[in-house]
Amino acid sequence: MTSFDLVEPRSLEEAFRYLDPSDPAIRPFGGGTALMLMIKAQMYKPQRLVSLGRLGGRFSGISFDANACRIGAMTRFATLEHSPEIAARLPVITEAMKTLANVRVRNVATVGGNLGHADPHLDLPPIWLVLDAKVTVVNRGGERVLPVADIFSGYYETTLGNDELIAEVEVPVRQGWRSKYVKVTTRATHDWPALGLAISVQIDGHLIKDLRIVLSAAVDFPRRLLGAEAVLRGAAIDEPLLQRAGEAAAEEADMESDSRGTGDYKRHLLRAHLRRAVLALAAE
């Protein structure tokens, strides 16, 4: 790490003045928890870092209306963790915070930075996907809205332009849906997940009316398991159905071996935890 400039603009206009999309040594950042590690490891050598932490406006705060929950991109994890509204309306997020990194990281890391980092092991992105969240991204000329799922294009890769900033995340209010995130670790408790599994269901008795299943960590970016969803959608929960769903999930998920487990073991874990998660959601 060699010296670089750090600027903290107070307005979007000022931020864009400091940013230069054509210069890879100039980057925006949220909390910086991931970026600092890359800088220390000499994987990234910045000349200027532009903190978005003081932008305020739509970049900050959590608000709810009848249709959606809106979360500013610079909202820190600790704010989500301790928000009574989030606990009441999106408890899957509050629950995930219990094992998400550590208190030092949660006090600093931001929702937007976390999405932009596109590390497949992160816990929040699969949850946004399963909640059907959208993001608003802004550039000098305007803004666009896209599903969170469309941000990711590869391992640490996104579809966002160099001139774009994530401004806010919007989670729709979906009546009758319940969600669950399972962080499956295979070593120490504070390890990165071997696989992350987020599931959201709309259940009527034992009938799954609709659902979303998202797999993370074991794949290059968080992905919906559409095959397994198709098996379960509209079906009544029973053992053979769960078996078929597990097989479909293991079949469609392309999982590699790493220090957290072989691909075969992860497929087995996926089958087992998918089944358990659906049963747990049905029992809620």
Partner: protein, 759 residues
């Protein structure tokens, strides 16, 4: 009964307040005027001849002072090879690299970030050579890591070291007792198993760091070292200087665990400072520690002859220690852990072969337990496998064979003050062993296991201590023991204070500074309380005698209660003078016979511990939890019960990581998980819900106030206790550490396949 004011009292750590308020001194924080920073450029291949090193781009970076290779080092140290057992490790790679991660060059710059940046611009070309990584393969491999073996002959117990030239064997230690083949022939049953231990690392919170400060024909080293006296001796030898021109200072250490022993960064940083004639500092990153020193991977083959009544009549152990590219203290691990590798059992016929071998991995050295946990993993798993086959209760089987007080251990050294029975009994009680166990239902299965183990202590080693009573009656203790978190300052003050009849809290402990504090062999291998503790006891007694002498000289009647400051005033006419008491201790030792390993004094005392574990297994995923963990130790008389308790729990947590989650993973000699995102040490969240650490009532009769060391005891039997519990839960044995959920799952699936194939 004697009553004590300092002994068996949980005196709060003397340095506790300094530490929690962030005022404690560490080398990490040290900055000297004009100090430069070094950054190491490391080898990318595990074995190769260096064809070319290009430092030009690095040298051109603004702020870079100099880039150094072995050719520069040689102008300072003509024979730049160091090590405690072999002088085999070059200060920087010398024509050849022997592991991926080996230091090849160093950038010295005015700023550590600049040095880091420039080191990234160095390039090296290698002619790659075939490499060997596995210890068993290295025994017979055509790949030879060192063409020439260079024994150091520093330590009396290793003086006979020759190694086997033309092979990778740096040391072959032998122990022969009775006739093991005849024993096997006469035994009712024979059991033979092989066990493996993985490579792991110390992970001190404070990574390795050294500052060298050159003076006028002198050198001061500020270094995070567990053995300042050894550093001074070795640096003086390398430089060809007398010892009195090298000064080694060690403040507090942020953990050592055996890693910061002997000589690590010191020779390199001392050379750099002499080259540039400025103070130089090298601070390793957390990640670079994987390339400094590690714990030996180890393969143990163990064969036992057992009679149907459960009596073990013969045992053979073949232990192969993977020492990596440089021997470090591995040969001593090989010998010390070798001689106890048949376990704490009374066996008539024993044969042990223990080999230290070179491979192309990062070097291995001392790590908390000094090899004992690796051998105990083997012999205590083996013990349970035999008990299962004989249909005997695991504890009964052990009791039947346990070494009792006065009996000769395999070396011929009698067991003295070794509470093996007591620790086993107490674990049995804490585990409620006689009660039935809840085995779980459905996919959840539960089980329990126990294990017992022992270790010999590194010998012979010397400690020297000095007590200085100042003219106002206050006292300071001058010792080379390094407080690295274990609380040695506090315990040593307790010992001195007890003799001097004052409170431990009033004593000041002067930290290691070889210009000031006397010799100590090192803070290692559970030796400080016993060795340095005895030296401190002698020093305090010496001071006390001198105080009495002074009183006699002043014609005071015996039993007078004149306070010390008044004695000084009467002697010198004012507040002046010192009374200095000194003490020196080396225990009796008998060198093992070369061909039989026999010695009647192989160890000054025995480290003795037992563990018990309960596990809960999710048989669908292989995920399992240690729900209860009990560690019972024989520490003699606990001088400071609270410190003993945290030593036991700390060591147990460390060993828990080595049992469950930690493993350095290599692909063709390249470490693939060399960061703490991928190499997982346990945190508080990983601790068993029920976690008991305690000691039995015991006494080390020749120890200071009946005490012996406590720093490693709970590491010895922990892994096999958990492995045995796992086997009890699922009916399957794992023989290779670490015990991971995937291994459990795979063992269960393979067993299921076998059952279904068998119909």
């Amino acid at each position: 009964m004697t009553s004590f004011r300092n002994i068996d009292r949980s005196v709060p750590r003397l340095e506790g307040r300094e530490k929690v308020t962030g005022k404690a001194e560490y080398v990490h924080h040290l900055r000297l005027p004009g100090m430069l920073y070094g950054k190491i450029f490391r080898s990318t291949v595990p074995h190769g001849r260096i064809k070319h090193i290009d430092v030009s781009a690095a040298a051109a970076v603004e702020g870079v002072y100099r880039v150094v290779t072995i050719d520069d080092i040689r102008t300072i140290i003509p024979h730049p090879y160091y090590g405690p057992a072999f002088h085999d490790q070059p200060v920087l790679a010398d024509g050849k690299v022997r592991f991926a991660g080996e230091p090849v060059a160093v950038v010295i710059a005015t700023d550590r970030r600049v040095a880091e940046e420039a080191a990234g611009l160095i390039t090296a070309e290698y002619e790659e050579l075939p490499a060997v990584f596995d210890e068993v393969e290295a025994m017979t491999s055509d790949v030879i890591v060192h063409d020439e073996l260079k024994p150091a002959a520093t330590f009396p117990d290793l003086q006979h070291l020759k190694g086997r030239s033309g092979t990778n064997v740096a040391l072959d230690y032998k122990l022969r007792r009775g006739d093991v083949d005849a024993g096997f022939a006469a035994a009712d049953r024979i059991f033979e198993h092989t066990f493996r231990n993985q490579q792991v690392m110390h992970t001190p919170l404070e990574p390795f760091v050294t500052v060298a400060e050159p003076g006028d024909g002198r050198m001061t080293l500020h270094t995070a070292s567990q053995g300042p006296s050894f550093v001074r001796i070795e640096i003086a030898r390398l430089l060809g200087w007398p010892e009195n021109r090298v000064r080694v200072k060690v403040p507090f250490l942020g953990g050592g665990f055996g890693g910061k022993l002997y000589i690590k960064l010191e020779a390199l940083v001392a050379s750099l400072a002499l080259l540039v004639q400025c103070p130089v500092k090298i601070s390793l990153t957390m990640e670079e520690q994987f390339f400094m020193v590690t714990r030996h991977p180890c393969t143990v083959r163990i064969k036992s002859g057992v009679n149907n009544d459960g009596k073990i009549v013969a045992r053979r152990c073949d232990v192969i220690w993977n020492g990596g590219a440089y021997a470090d203290i591995g040969p001593r691990v090989t010998q010390k852990a070798g001689f106890t590798s048949a376990g704490p059992y009374d066996i008539e016929n024993v044969s042990i072969d223990s080999y230290a071998v070179y491979t192309n991995r990062p070097p291995a050295g001392a790590l908390r337990g000094f090899g004992a946990p690796q051998t105990a993993w083997a012999y205590e798993t083996h013990m349970d496998m035999i008990a299962d086959a004989l249909g005997m209760d695991q504890i009964e089987f052990r009791r039947k064979n346990l070494l009792r007080e006065g009996r000769e251990q395999a070396t011929g050294t009698p067991m003295r003050d070794a509470a093996l029975d007591a620790v086993l009994d107490q674990v049995s009680t804490r585990m409620a062993w006689s009660e039935p166990v809840d085995r779980g239902t459905g996919r959840i299965r539960r089980g329990r296991g126990i294990a017992v183990g022992f270790k010999g202590i590194t010998a012979p080693t010397t400690s020297v201590a000095m007590v200085n009573c100042y003219a106002d009656g206050s006292c300071a203790l001058y010792i080379g023991t390094v407080d690295m978190g274990q609380g040695s300052d506090t315990v040593m003050a307790q010992i001195a204070a007890e003799v001097l009849e004052i409170d431990a809290e009033s004593i000041r402990v002067i930290h290691s500074d070889t210009d000031v504090t006397p010799y100590d062999m090192g803070t290692l291998g559970s030796r400080s309380t016993f060795h340095m503790g005895t030296a401190v006891l002698l020093a305090a007694k010496d001071a006390k005698n001198k105080i009495a002498e002074l009183a006699r000289e002043l014609s005071l009647p015996p039993g007078n209660n004149l306070p010390l400051p008044e004695l000084f005033r009467r002697k010198y006419g004012m507040q002046a003078g010192n009374i200095i008491g000194t003490g020196s201790f080396i225990p009796d030792y008998e060198k093992p016979e070369k061909d039989t390993g026999r010695s009647t004094k192989a160890t000054p005392f025995w480290g003795v511990g037992a563990s018990g574990a309960e596990v809960e297994v999710d048989t669908e995923t292989g995920h399992f939890t240690v729900t209860k963990l009990v560690n019972v130790a024989d520490v003699g008389v606990p001088l400071n019960p609270k410190l003993v308790q945290v030593q036991l729990s700390g060591a147990a947590i460390m060993q828990l990581g080595f049992t469950l989650t930690e493993e350095m993973i290599f692909s063709e000699g390249q470490l693939t998980n060399g960061s703490f995102a991928d190499y997982k040490i346990p945190t508080l969240l990983d601790l068993p819900a029920e976690f008991i650490n305690e000691c039995v009532e015991s006494r080390q009769n020749d120890g200071p106030f009946g005490a012996k060391g406590a720093g490693e005891t709970s590491t010895i039997a922990l892994s096999p206790a958990i492995g045995n519990a796992l086997a009890d839960a699922i009916g399957i044995r794992l023989t290779d550490l670490p015990l991971t959920p995937e291994k459990v799952f795979k063992a269960l699936s393979d067993a299921k396949r076998l059952w279904s194939a068998g119909g």
